[in-house]
Symmetry: C2
Subunit: 252 residues, 2 copies
Amino acid sequence: MEEIRNSDYQYRVEVCFMPGQYPLYAQDMGIVVVIDVLRATSAMVAAFENGIDRIIPVSTIEEASQYIGREGYIAAAERNGEVVKGFAYGNSPLAYVGQDLKGKTIVMTTTNGTKAINLAKDARMLVIGSFLNLTALSEWLVQQNDNILLLCSGWKDKFNLEDSVFAGAVMERLLESGKFGVEEDSSIAAKFMYMSARDNFMSMLKAAPRRRRIQQLSLLPDVKYCLTPDQSTVIPVLQDGELVRLDTLVKA
Amino acid sequence: MEEIRNSDYQYRVEVCFMPGQYPLYAQDMGIVVVIDVLRATSAMVAAFENGIDRIIPVSTIEEASQYIGREGYIAAAERNGEVVKGFAYGNSPLAYVGQDLKGKTIVMTTTNGTKAINLAKDARMLVIGSFLNLTALSEWLVQQNDNILLLCSGWKDKFNLEDSVFAGAVMERLLESGKFGVEEDSSIAAKFMYMSARDNFMSMLKAAPRRRRIQQLSLLPDVKYCLTPDQSTVIPVLQDGELVRLDTLVKA
């Protein structure tokens, strides 16, 4: 497909709709943005915004449970949208808002988000995206000289509307720069979904059936918070298996 | 998720974006519509429209090659968008237009479409969808009393724009009936994609990078043909491993 690469943009920005497809999209990608809008990556940005020092994403409940009650640690575990029994925290961003979290470490496992992080942990650079840090993230991404993959966490390996719409929002800002181009149909589709959703985002999400489930779980305040852009300028980045703030990252 | 099922529609219609996701969507689905707009399922409808008797979808080039030169058979094989060496036919629908195909059998293998058919061959009913038979197919589907899965063939296991937009077109017609509802985010997304594409379908597809490749392969006449709705009322259906016309199907 040489003819496609022979284009006038310098770098590619692509969207991968679900973690299971990651191996098909990972090639030549330098920066991976992990997205789990409802709610893992939103909670991560909120936690940093509220003073947390670092977040250790783990795959299993067992790993996270070893930190319950440990000095300086917050153990957080979510499965199927609910806090796992025995844990005080799940993946709700509002649980971190207004807390004194300075210097603390969160150890977190979630249904989809931490799974996607672990899948892409060998990328040259892995950062965390959510509506909370949309503008800060997009402005930073535009300045990078590398191919960028927007990796949606999905819902149990299936396609997920809010992650894809967010990817479309980032996509649009990167395409505007003229520096980035796309090759994948999924990337075009994400941009079209964002354009459809832009002016009536909540109503588009309400059209999605899982939204009904969220309302029944009384998570609407969380959802509204997660869909409100630009509440933070923090960009979490993975360093040696731990998420830290990009602005505190010590360059290797 | 009992609360979701407790809705006012009778049956579900869902979209699966790529064959690799089929096992996640297949449960409770009675009718599977296999979609490979560019170009396998368009070619199948075109072939029936031009008199062909039946189509045997096979997975390998080797299986198809055994029918080269055999009386009454047309052997067709496509890989990576091109006719496989040694075959007279690939997946171009225009190759069948204006031919005398009465009574003949096509044995066909393609990169994506026949793969999706073989994957879903154990569904209670498997039919073939393309823009060529959009209205006939949708009107028939609306009359069925079963859950319907619109299975996009994708492109080498990746998401594909034209299949998803077509699925959205069928989806919209089925939702209008009030008889069908959705639970999956992918289904909502397909409908939004179709709504974005409806009035400028060719330009949306031109935005997709693979379209540039298609133009370079001189396939534009084929693409235009495949995107022209309602050229046929034929609905191909799988019976004992062979595709036949639904209107000639002997009820078991």
